[in-house]
């Protein structure tokens, strides 16, 4: 053993224990500091950190609710949820993404655009998150993918729900359509529900879908999931089921709607059928229409351009949004106002020489030679203008305007559709307020025959007719029940008018479409118990100049389409016990008796018979033509949509 050099002398050696203790002391102090820090974090601040940890760990995922379905009055489905298939891919399971995608595109059609979009999304998102490769995939393609699963690692078909409108064009304007929530939508809503932020979540964009959005949407459920640091769901902690949206049943009869839509085809027109007893809207058609399913899927630019550039404006809902001068269909209001004001009696007469001088201006009757001596009944039957100029001047615009409002013109009806127009029933105060000019007698003359400032939508005209027919303030009702709960009836209270006066008007309307010489005599119904009362209207969209009048008014057929008169017809039937009120407006259709009345009569009969009416209901001379028409329309009508009625059961 080697002898150790003790080196036990010297200053440095003596320092060692002291310095060792100093260093040890420093270390002890540091350890004490660590302990204090640990205590501070784990004891004093533990609750805060515990909270942060929970936030880290727990994520709340929304479960989108099932949207409520929409049925017609007989339980036929109008808006439903179908399973839609899409193909998703999980990057981390796929391995070689490019190869798998190329395998997939050999099987099913994939556009380069879809592929690029999916790849870009994959680069951005976590590797375990599914990325949609193809949306709205057919069942055949899904089967192909399923069969070839071994060659397609990471690719799986997924089922979601998509809105489907199996009645296509028929209900486009009524029900509208849904679409994915846009940034604009979000900006319009104050404090939007979190469910709206789910990607691809669909909300109502137009029509009933939009107006009843809250009812249809339901309540989102939520599940609490534990996630790891990269966001992968490890397990579900608990779940709170949402509430499906409420099912809506419309008052509309899908078959009648379909018929009306088919009958209007080829025109730019609108038709409304109202149940006089309940205010139920049985049909509300605007033609031309469009396929709302196109919008659900995301309409192509070309399709959209076709729709917007069409002169007939398929996207416009003419039934509630379109307002037209009511023309002669307004004459019942003028007459009622005069009768109620007591300025005329039903029997009192006016002489019509073909024109009336009001102030310095001549107001012409549509019949150049005049109607001679006319009373109320004759004036309505023949639609004499001079009679109304005359009585209106005596009644005064304010009385007429008030009467129009009583019958639902110039007031906005409360139905859940987009852009419901209020129309216009002007009075003196209105003109001064809006135009800053005083009301002129000429304005009254114009208003008396539903021209000038006067504007009404087809819905308002139908409501007006229903009110004339029943004497009650019928209110339109579109939604009959929500989740089976019947909604308020639109039968309404009796109107504050003399029923006897109303009876005179109804009688005159009966003459219009039943007496020889009545403007709608040719469109009469001859089934005795279903007789129809009506009124034609032809509203000008242009001024007829003096020069033109002198040269002879140009016939509608010779004018360009957009300058032709609007054709209108309002009617109710059966006369004895009114069941339905119908209003038809054919834009630039020419004369109301020729263009609108036959359409209204056909729709009325379809409604009265709840299906194709027998030819016996038509005048003998028309039957052959009507038979042809029925055959043609039957062919036109779209076959019923694919059977998905399992859902309803």
């Amino acid at each position: 053993m080697k002898q150790r050099n003790p080196k036990s002398q010297g200053l440095a050696y003596k320092r060692l224990p002291r310095r060792a203790l100093i260093l040890g002391g420093l270390q002890a102090a540091f350890i004490g500091g660590l302990a204090a820090r640990m205590r501070f974090m784990q004891v004093d601040q533990a609750d805060e950190y515990r909270l942060l940890a929970e936030e880290n760990r727990i994520n709340i995922r929304l479960i989108p609710p099932t949207r409520g379905r929409i049925y017609d009055r007989n339980g036929q489905i109008i808006g439903q949820n179908t399973q839609s298939y899409r193909i998703v891919m999980v990057r981390e399971d796929a391995g070689d993404v490019d190869e798998v995608i190329s395998n997939l595109s050999d099987l099913i059609p994939l556009t380069q655009d879809e592929i690029d979009r999916a790849k870009a999304e994959m680069r951005r998102s976590a590797p375990f998150l599914p990325v949609t490769l193809a949306d709205q995939v057919t069942w055949e393609d899904i089967s192909k993918v399923a069969v070839n699963a071994p060659a397609l690692p990471g690719v799986t078909p997924e089922v979601g729900t998509a809105r489907l409108y199996p009645r296509y064009e028929d209900f486009a304007h009524v029900v509208g359509y849904v679409g994915p929530v846009s940034d604009y939508d979000l900006s319009q809503i104050e404090d939007p529900e979190p469910v709206l932020r789910i990607p691809r979540f669909q909300i109502g964009k137009v029509g009933l879908e939009a107006k009843q959005e809250i009812t249809l949407r339901g309540k989102a459920g939520a599940k609490r999931v534990e996630v790891n640091a990269t966001g992968r769901v490890m397990r579900e902690l608990d779940r709170q089921e949402g509430e499906a949206g409420a099912d809506l049943q419309l008052s509309v009869d899908a078959d009648l709607q379909q018929y009306a839509q088919a009958r209007l085809a080829g025109e730019s027109a609108a038709a409304v059928v109202i149940d006089c007893e309940t205010g139920d809207i049985r049909a509300i058609s605007s033609a031309p229409s469009f396929d709302p399913n196109l919008f659900v899927r995301g309409i192509s630019v070309a399709d959209y351009r076709t729709l917007t550039q069409d002169n007939y404006r398929p996207l416009a809902n003419k039934t509630v949004q379109g307002t037209y001068p009511p023309g002669s269909t307004f004459k019942m209001i003028t007459a009622m106002a005069a009768l109620e004001a007591g300025v005329v009696a039903p029997g009192s007469t006016v002489y019509c020489p073909g024109h009336l001088k009001v102030g310095s201006r001549r107001f012409h009757c549509w019949k150049r030679g005049g109607h001679g001596t006319v009373d109320l009944n004759l004036s309505l039957k023949r639609s004499c203008d001079v009679y109304y100029y005359d009585v209106a001047l005596r009644t005064g615009i304010d009385n007429i305007s008030e009467m129009a409002r009583t019958f639902g013109l110039g007031v906005k009806h409360d139905i859940p559709m987009s852009a419901v127009a209020a129309g216009l029933a002007p009075n003196q105060e209105w003109k001064e307020r809006v135009h800053g000019e005083s009301w002129l007698v000429g304005d009254t003359a114009n208003a008396s025959i539903g021209q000038g400032f006067m504007l009404a939508s087809p819905l308002q005209l139908a409501v007006m007719t229903a009110r004339i027919a029943t004497g009650r303030a019928v209110k339109p009702r579109l939604v009959r029940s929500v989740n089976g709960v019947e909604q308020l009836s639109g039968a309404g209270e009796p109107l504050a008018v003399n029923p006897a006066n109303l009876e005179h008007i109804r009688k005159a309307m009966f003459s219009v479409s039943n007496d020889r010489g009545g403007t709608a005599y040719r469109s009469r119904i001859i089934a005795d118990d279903l007789r129809m009362a009506g009124k034609t209207g032809t509203s000008q969209v242009r001024n007829i100049t003096k020069a033109e009048r002198a040269a002879g008014v140009i016939r509608n057929e010779d004018l360009p389409w957009e300058r032709r008169d609007h054709a209108l017809f309002v009617s109710f039937a059966p006369y004895d016990n009114p069941k339905y009120a119908v209003a038809v407006v054919v834009e630039h259709g020419g004369g109301g008796s020729k263009a609108a009345a036959p359409v209204a009569r056909d729709i009325m009969l379809q409604a009265l018979y709840d299906g194709t009416p027998p030819l016996e209901a038509y005048p003998v001379g028309d039957r052959e033509r009507i038979r042809e028409q029925q055959k043609r329309l039957e062919g036109d009508r779209r076959p019923k949509a694919r059977p998905t009625e399992k859902e309803r059961a």
Binding site: K7, L11, A20, L34, Q42, E226
Partner: protein, 379 residues
Amino acid sequence: MSYLEYAVKSTPTGFRKFLYMNWPLTLLLISVASAGFLMLYSVAGGSWMPWAEPQIERFGLGLTVMFIIALVPIWFWRNMSVLAYLGSIVLLVFVELFGTIGMGAQRWIDLGFMRLQPSEVMKVALVMVLAAYYDWLPSHKTSRPLWVLIPVVLILIPTAMVLKQPDLGTSILLLAAGGGLMFLAGVHWAYFAAVIAAVVGLIATVFNSRGTEWQLLKDYQFRRIDTFLDPSTDPLGAGYHITQSKIALGSGGWNGRGFMQGTQSRLNFLPEKHTDFIFTTLAEEFGFVGGITLLTLYGLILIFCLVTALSTKDRFSSLVTLGIALNFFLFFAVNMSMVMGLAPVVGVPLPMVSYGGSAMLVLMAAFGIVQSAHIHRPR
């Protein structure tokens, strides 16, 4: 002081050496390592693989190495000091030339069964060579400038090489351990005062160098310092580790969430949960009680090293024991400061607990020297 005065007249030989080992230290090391196995089992989701089992095997190996080194007389190790130092320098050069690049730095030599980190070996070799130096140096020369310069150079050579890898954490540890040893050896106060002043100046210079052409630290090193200073500025980016570590640690509370119930570590919010951040897992699952217990075990290890150092009359034994204890202290102090948000993330593992072979083996070998000093102490 009875234990300190406990005297055995002759150095034990043969199997009797086992009896004279520092057994409390051995038991403490085994308990700390066991805590590590438990945590590695937990962070693997209740599985011995992939971490706990290899760690146990390595600890077994380490224990064997410790016993073998303990049985060899301490003067042999003193004589080996210079060789160990030179060997470590060679290894550092080797790793510089052929090392495996990991985490943006050249640190490892792949030996096949384990990855050797020469900077770890250097920590012990530096302590040894400095202890041998001061053992050799006549004590009246200790504070003479020339005799101070030699150990400074001995410290700076490996420090510079480690810094170049780059491994800022280890180079700072080398500096601190070397400096600490010089302090223990009795170098005059004035030198330390001067060095501390110089370091403050250097730090200021380093910070001023940022963004200039002669930038002294890599950008990531600056970023680590930035995020240390204010981790909340970038909670999902660079400050993520510190923030998550603090959340996990703080949420442990008094008793912790229970064994294998630590949500933050189990759900991967914690980075490096089996190596640098294993203390966070321990503190989350066993709370303040568990953390303090581990800290106490570490403290006891230091105390028993101090006991060994003060009970020997051999200068080399004292210095090397204290130097190893200081190294050990620096390890866990830096690591714990880091996970508690008191120091930047520098990548220093928790000694005996973190997963990792070479650090543990080197430490066990170092404790073998401590044991050898204890057994062979002149009495």
